[in-house]
Symmetry: none
Subunit: 196 residues, 4 copies
DNA sequence: AATGAATGAGAGTTCATTCAT
DNA sequence: CATGAATGAACTCTCATTCAT
């Protein structure tokens, strides 16, 4: 009954959803715990019953994004298609999932430095694994000769992910291009830059 | 005499320098006015004598970055070299000046949303002009046929600037590559992505 | 079965033991109900099933101490030994039982003011009876002339009990002196101070 | 002018006085910062302008008591009177000054454990020096043979100071005995207990 | 008998800003 | 020009207690 109230979501789900929206809109520091609990329709005590701190909420958002992206990338990387197809699809997919979770991603890249040291280290470690898996695809293609080796693979990865992070700064759902179209274009740019 | 003290810098200069370093290291919200004045070796009264508010300090940092980048871009765009040379040099130069002013740039992209509405509008307008001038170069090349038209010019610009914004997240002065080398690689990637 | 678990103690006993240790170590205000129930291995609901409030736990500790001390004193006072022997034994015994229940005694003297008014009055009344019974021994000796009458009896009692309260501040079980030795010395000091 | 307001006391003095009274009446934990600033007629900001924390206020009270007692004891100990006179006067004086500063002393013995670890260590070190100076007097008399050596000197000191700490529990200014009378009696008890 | 989610009031602390000097 | 005392509102977080289950 009380679970059915407020849209059938549980209290921690509602809190996480409210925090995500507010953190994305206003930034972590500019969002008060009071705003979050009001948006979720609960009291402060309830928040601290489920989350140890405001920091914890942020960490939960990160965990969700990291898990999602890691799974998608694994999926593409493990395919047995030619490496250029695998990289292209991974490069496009990270754009689509970023746009589909634009709030989470905005928070991710804007508020990461607000995490405490040990949580930050953990997030960074996961992030690094993600980057390395992506870089491995680039290096594989460079070794096979299907990609140019003119640019070090890690710079290529940073180049592409730079544009992915930047999506939050300009992409709007009501804009001219759909998520898929943007993804296609950005993946194209990457593939063309890698042509030997 | 007091200007000669503390390295010969004026009080407002010292305040701005201290604020820049602290904002870049800790973020705008995490930096207190008290920290700034202590780092600058003055008192709060002095800060409020020269700057209307903490917000004003942030705005000054922005103004400095915007002015610098605008000037550099104008310089390259106005040259009468072939468009591919002009774009390549502009693309590389924005990387170098970003790295040379990495603190300012970190602040720029991380704390923009802390500005009040009217200042934000002003900054965004200047930023848009900058983007458009850059885009004009891409479009000029596309019209001439020296660049591929497969990707809309504004997406190309966002792709490149994405990687520029991202520099603050990974570039370290003590790293493997010099600013010039990174700039060369990133400009290369852009030019290769634009090959017809 | 659940009584046999956790060392065969009942839930209220476990709660009282946990509360006693924590109150003595950290003080009443610094100890949260959450800590108590965790230390006792039960939940908050269980605590509030057996005790009306956190205050009640404190009161139970007091009741235990008061009952114990009252009984011991009665035992010595009712003996038909000479008054100097009765007083000496009572004075030494209160030291030993205080040391043997040092946690309870620490709480008693440090947290008494946390009780509500009516419970406080009740505790103080019992405490006063205890003092008066002790004082009666001193006065009896003074009337007989075996003790000096230079100092009013109530001051003598406060003098001795002051040192008893103070035990919690310095006595450690691992120290140089056993409880019995300390008791002997303190009782000696009292008796010597009372020599005519 | 603003200094003349509120009785001519400075803001930090008023805060310290208010805190002392409230800590003595209600205990440290039961006294809120809000109560203190209201009693002092200032705002919370003012309190934190002068004191780093609520803890700091407590520490200031301690520093005042410690300084006072140390000075008085030094004064008596350095005299060239016979040791029994020096000890008697010191033992009586600590009672008088304790009664004259009963609020501070209550706080001292009841709330010491609320200090943070490093401040606590500092206070304890000063306290120990005080005890040792007192003990040295007892030992000197024991060596000369004017005091009995039946009880170890440190136990004697704890015995006396126990009764001093205890004063806060029963002494009232309106009571039967003046501070000087109580001091005389307690010093008498000590000296008689030390008779060979 | 026992759970644990949820409350709501209040805790200590921070901070940008003002203003008399 | 510059000081620094003082403000007042907002901040994150804690906690004893209740109640439906």
């Amino acid at each position: 009954m009380s679970a059915a109230a407020e849209g059938g979501w549980s209290v921690p789900q509602r809190l996480l959803a409210a925090a995500t929206r507010l953190f994305a809109d206003q930034g972590y520091d500019r969002t008060s715990v009071q705003e979050i609990v009001e948006a979720a329709g609960v009291t402060k005590g309830a928040l601290y019953h489920y989350f140890g701190s405001k920091d914890d909420l942020l960490h939960e958002v990160y965990a969700r994004v990291l898990r999602l992206q890691q799974e998608r990338l694994d999926c593409f990387a493990r395919s047995d298609a030619p490496v250029e197809k695998r990289l292209r699809e991974a490069a496009a997919d990270v754009v689509v999932t970023t746009i589909e979770n634009l709030d989470d991603t905005k928070i991710f890249f804007r508020s990461m430095h607000h995490l405490g040291p040990e949580k930050l280290a953990q997030v960074r470690a996961e992030r690094r694994r993600y980057h390395e898996r992506f870089r491995a695809l680039v290096e594989e293609g460079q070794r096979c000769g299907v990609f140019s080796s003119a640019t070090p693979a890690d710079l290529v990865v940073d180049y592409h992910f730079g544009s992915v992070h930047h999506l939050g700064a300009w992409y709007h759902a009501e804009g001219r291009l759909s998520a898929g179209e943007v993804a296609g274009h950005l993946a194209d740019l990457l593939m063309r830059a890698l042509r030997p």
